[in-house]
Each structure stands twice: as C-alpha cells, then as structure tokens.
C-alpha cells in the first residue's frame, strides 16, 4: 500500500522540524509580554507547525495529534479563559484589573495577568486556525438541486 502524504524526505524533515516550531511558538506566547511576539503571533506559528504536518503526512495524521473535537473545546476554553481573566479583575475593582502580583521586572513572571491572557489568546488562535485549516482541507460544499450541502470529504485520491 502506498504511504499517504509526501515523500520520505519531506516527512523526515517535517518530523524533525515540528518540535522546534512548537517550541518556538510556545516561547513566543510565554514571553510575549517582554519580547516581540505574544498570543496571536505564537498561536499562528504553532498552527504553522500543524500545517506542515498536514502537508507532509495528510490530514489524518495531524488530526490524530490534535483531534478536531479537542480543538473545538480549546477554542472555547481560550475565549472563556480570556473573559475570566477580565472578569476576575472585578476582585481588584475594575474590568481587566491586574489582580496578580507583578513579580520581577524582565522575568517570565513579571506582568500579572498579561501572561495568562497571552496563553489564552494563544490557545484560541491555535485552535481556531487549526479548525479553519481542517475545514478547508476536509469539508466541501456540494452543489445539489436546491442549493449547497455541507459534506466532509475523505482523503483526496492521489
């Protein structure tokens, strides 16, 4: 049986590079408050890693690593977590108030709630973009007699 996805070279390189992309994305998210980057940029790079997997191994392999249902849940959890950080600010007296200790300047723990917000944004972005890519690669609108119908297609035949 023919292997799914691209050639051996692409697959090996993708396997090697993927952890570094993920690491870089996570680092951008975590250090977003003191270096350039942040939740959105890190999240997009993390999704880039998954796009590489989708291209090299096909959608099924990528969906084994991050199932779509988990991604859907992460998407909502990210948004709700961000909102929770904002609402918990009421304990300090205002919406989005920084209720955590500020820590040491230029260290990882140096910004109170911003780091939590960044993590939540990162979760939301990675999950939402991943779902978008999953929809684009898997789902099709099929034209029928009375309009379009949403259909999930399988792996495309090569």
């Amino acid at each position: 049986m023919k292997k799914k996805g691209m050639s051996e070279i692409v697959q090996s390189v993708a396997k090697m590079v993927f952890p570094f992309i993920v690491l870089y994305g996570i680092s951008l998210i975590l250090y977003g408050h003191i270096t350039p980057g942040g939740g959105f940029a890190g999240g997009v790079i993390l999704t880039g890693g998954f796009v590489l997997l989708v291209l090299a191994f096909g959608t099924d392999y990528a969906f084994r690593i991050l199932p779509v249902n988990v991604a859907k849940a992460l998407d909502s959890i990210g948004a709700l977590g961000f909102l929770a950080v904002a609402l918990l600010g009421f304990t300090g007296g205002a919406f989005f108030y920084n209720f955590l200790p500020k820590g040491h300047i230029f260290h990882l723990w140096s910004s109170g709630t911003i780091i939590i917000s960044n993590i939540m944004i990162g979760l939301k972005v990675v999950a939402a973009l991943f779902i978008a890519i999953a929809v684009i690669s898997k789902a099709r609108l099929i034209r029928t007699k009375d309009g379009f119908q949403y259909k999930q297609s399988g792996e495309r035949k090569r």
Binding site: D75, L83, L87, A94, F95, G147
Partner: protein, 494 residues
C-alpha cells in the same frame, strides 16, 4: 453600578463560548441558555439605562488605569437608548428563534453566532474610542456574514459574499480614516479628537469626514452605498433579518454617523448637506424599489433603506427638532421593522414561502399573524397612533422650520409611497379571499414576541409625551446637540 457597563458585552461573549463549549450538540439546551443570557443582558442594560437617564452619563476605564492611559468606555443617554433597544429586541428575537430555527441544522451554532453579533453591537455602543468601535464593528459584522449565509442555499451564499465584500470596503475606509486620525492628532478618543480637530486644516478634516461618512454610510445602507442590503436582509433567516434590519444598520451605521456628525466633526456643517442628499435619495429610491418587489422580505429590506433615509434627513436638518425626529424614528422603526420581519418569518414557517404571488388569503388562514403584520405595516407607513407618524411629523416640521421645504414635500410624498406599497401587499397577500380557508395559525412561541413588538409599535409614541420626553429623548438629543467630555466627568484633568 458602573461595572455593569462592561457586563452587557461580557455576558454575550461568555454565553456564546459556553454554548459552543458545552451545548453544541443539544439544540434545546442551547436555545434555553441563549434566551437566558440575552435576558440577563437585557435586564442589565435596562438597569444601566435607568441609571444613565436619572443620574447622567457613565464613564468607565478598563483595568482601573488613570485617564489618558485607560481604555474609555462610555454610556451617555444617546448610547443608552440604543443599548436598551438592541437588547430588548434581541431578547424577543431570541425567544422567537427558539421555535423558528428548528427547521435549520446546526442550531447551537446559530445561537453562538447570534450572541457574538450582539456582543459586537453592544461593544460599539459602549466604546468611546473610535478604534474600539471599529473592532466591535468587525466582530458584529463577521458574525452577521455567517448568519446571512446560515441556510447554505446558493442565493444565501451569494448574498453573504456580496455583503462581506461591500462591508470590507467600508471597514477599509474606516480603518484608513482611523489611522489618519491617530497620525494627525495622536488620539483615538472621540472627545479628545473633537478638541484636537480644531488644529486641523479643512482639507484634512474633509478627507477624514469623507472616509468615515462613506464607510459608515455603507454600513447604514444609505443610497449610493446600499446595494448589499436587499440581498443580505432578504436572504438571512427571519430572526437574523429582524435584528439586522431592526437594529444592526442603526447601531453600526446610524449611531456612528450620529457620533461622527454631531460629536466629532462639529465644526464641519457641510457634512449635514451630504447627509440630507443621501437621505433624500435613500427615501425615494428605497420606496420606489419596494413598490415592485414580489419577494416580501425583499420588499421589507427596500423599505428599510427608505426609512433609514428619513433618519439621515433628520440628522441632516439637525437642530432640536431634527435630532428628536431621528431618535423617535429610530425607536419606532426598530420596533416595527423587527415586527414585520418576524411576522413574515412566521408566515414562511407555516406556508413555506415568502413570494407574494404564492400567498393568498392570509387574513382567513392566519388571523392573528395578519393582525400583527398589519400593525407593523401601519406603523412604518406612519398612520397616526403609531410612533412612526409622530417621528415623520417632527422631521417634516423640522424641515419646514429649517427652510428645506422641498425636503419636507419629499418626506410627505415618500410617506404616501410607503403606505402605497403596504396597501398593495395588503390587497394581494392578506385580504385576498381563498376558496377554502383552513385555519393554521403560527405557534404561540412565534406569536408572543410579535404581540409584544406590536404593542410597542402602538405605544412607542408615548416617548414624546411631555413629562416622559424630558427624561428620555430630550437627554439623548442634548448629547447630539452639544457633546462634551467635561459634562461627563467633572474635574477632568486632560
């Protein structure tokens, strides 16, 4: 009490993502949850409105940051009026959609998108910062694109794509103007920009005003920019049409145009002439186009263009009477247009069509729905006891007093045209006799929100009664006449 200002929006966002996290498989629970979240937000906004109308505007800084740093949120009587209307109509529409949306698949996602759209609309109303207004405008718009395409039929997708493209042209212009505003003055706060704009040259001011006016006029569907509206509003599911036509064009378009003309570019009176022109064009064009429509939802959509024209004309005339007319017309039209779209949705729910050729004798088969529909039509046509009559009357009086006699005549002519196309609809659809009338009324869950809206259409004129007017509309008009940051915060140290 001031903290509530953030909650109206936060409740919608939290509700939307809770539904998508927990109840995305279960449409009954999702519907009940959506209704309770919207009800919570409606109660919050009514409380806020009472606070604002009795004790004056609320200014709130996110994060507890001091002035110039904090993101300013503001609720003054003008935005409080829009906020209450948005959330009350949204509540009725959500109750309605619990039954109506049963014929669609993926209903939980409808509630998610609907709540996100409402969150964006609430965000526009509480923002005092023009960039935040833009962000929330995009939040609400992107959700509304998907809601328009929710049925996935070919025409719905086409309407949604047209709407998306036109809307992005508008938001590009708005974003460009915002970037220029920040470059010229170094501030995005509406009140601060109002002060800083005194130092700008007329060319800069005209360019900024032109970009902002074109962008928001496209969202409000004033006539040279209207082409997306008839498709989008007639193809969306009925509850979505009701909110889009009843509130969305007014919040995303009219409200921001009021802010732009009355609050930001106060020293640019020529902008009002442009609004008069757009408004007059919209009134006539929308009215004449509505006359020839066979699809009833499309007729209502053109009628929206025509009635938004009245609001723009009132805004163009300006002054106390013009402003009062705009706000009254906004309230009355929001209730009656939401009622009409819900009404035609109920007809579609029972009979399965909205083409006027296929519908006959509704008066015999669906008497209660017909009663509510006729109330809405009489309302929009401006027949005396309804609120729309008084608003049109005020706008006409304002036009005569300001010396725009031609505009006043045009308003009267368009009012007659409006009555004309609704009477035609009554003749062909409602009062046509059928051979064998079989009674098949819409479900009660559809009828109750329509009944409440019909009642509102009847009594909305009460806002003009002296004694009530001083505490509601007059305060909002005062914001339109002379707006200043100092009025909101005493001891402002800018």
């Amino acid at each position: 009490m001031n903290h509530l200002i953030t909650l109206t929006m936060a409740i919608y966002l939290g509700g939307a993502f809770l539904i998508s996290l927990l109840w995305r498989e279960n449409e009954t629970v999702a519907g009940a949850a959506a209704i309770s979240f919207v009800a919570l937000s409606a109660i919050t906004s009514v409380l806020l409105g009472i606070e604002v109308f009795t004790n004056g505007s609320i200014l709130y800084f996110a994060g507890g940051w001091e002035r110039p740093l904090g993101i300013a949120l503001m609720l003054d009587p003008l935005s409080a009026l829009f906020l209450i209307m948005t959330n009350v109509i949204a509540l009725l529409v959500t109750i309605y959609s619990a039954v109506y949306m049963k014929k669609y698949t993926w209903t939980p996602y409808f509630y998610v998108l609907f709540l996100i759209m409402l969150a964006g609309m609430n965000g526009i109303l509480i923002s005092m910062d023009i960039f935040n207004i833009y962000v929330f405008l995009e939040v609400a718009s992107v959700a509304s694109f998907m809601l328009v395409a929710f049925g996935l039929r070919a025409e719905e997708l086409e309407a949604a794509i047209k709407y998306t493209v036109m809307s992005f042209i508008a938001t590009t212009m708005i974003l460009f103007a915002i970037a220029l505003i920040y470059g010229f003055t170094g501030t995005l706060n509406i009140a601060r920009f109002m002060d800083a704009s005194a130092g700008l040259t007329p060319v800069h001011l005209w360019f900024l005003a032109g970009l902002l006016l074109a962008g928001f006029a496209l969202k409000a569907a004033l006539v040279p920019f209207h082409s997306w509206l008839p498709d989008a509003h007639s193809m969306a599911p009925a509850p979505v049409s009701a909110v889009l036509s009843g509130m969305f064009v007014k919040v995303a378009g009219l409200y921001v145009i009021i802010r732009v003309t009355a609050n930001i570019f106060t020293n640019l009176p020529q902008i009002r002439i442009l609004l008069l022109l757009f408004g007059a064009l919209s009134m006539v064009f929308g009215g004449l186009m509505a006359y020839g429509q066979k699809n009833i939802k499309r007729l209502y959509a053109y009628s929206t263009i025509s009635q938004i024209g009245y609001c723009a004309v009132g805004l163009g005339i300006g002054g106390y009477l013009g402003s009062l007319g705009v706000l009254m017309h906004f309230v009355a039209h929001a209730f009656s247009k939401a009622l009409l779209f819900l009404n035609i949705g109920a007809v579609e729910y029972v009979r399965g069509t909205v083409e006027s050729d296929d519908l006959k004798g509704l008066n015999d088969t669906m008497p209660v729905t017909t009663l509510f529909g006729s109330t809405g039509m009489l309302g929009i046509a401006g027949v005396p006891p309804m609120g729309n009559f008084w608003s049109k009357l005020i706008i006409i009086i304002a036009a005569v007093k300001a010396g725009y006699t031609g505009i006043a005549v045009l308003c009267i002519v368009v009012a007659v045209i409006t009555l004309g196309y609704f009477l035609k609809l009554q003749r062909t659809v409602y009062c046509n006799l059928t051979e064998s009338p079989v009674k098949k009324e819409a479900p009660k869950t559809l009828l109750v929100p329509m009944g409440i809206l019909a009642f509102m259409v009847f009594v909305s004129g009460v806002l003009l009664v002296p004694g009530i007017r001083e505490h509601t509309l007059d305060k909002a008009v005062a914001v339109m006449e002379n707006f200043s940051y100092v009025d909101i915060t005493i001891g402002d140290n800018r």
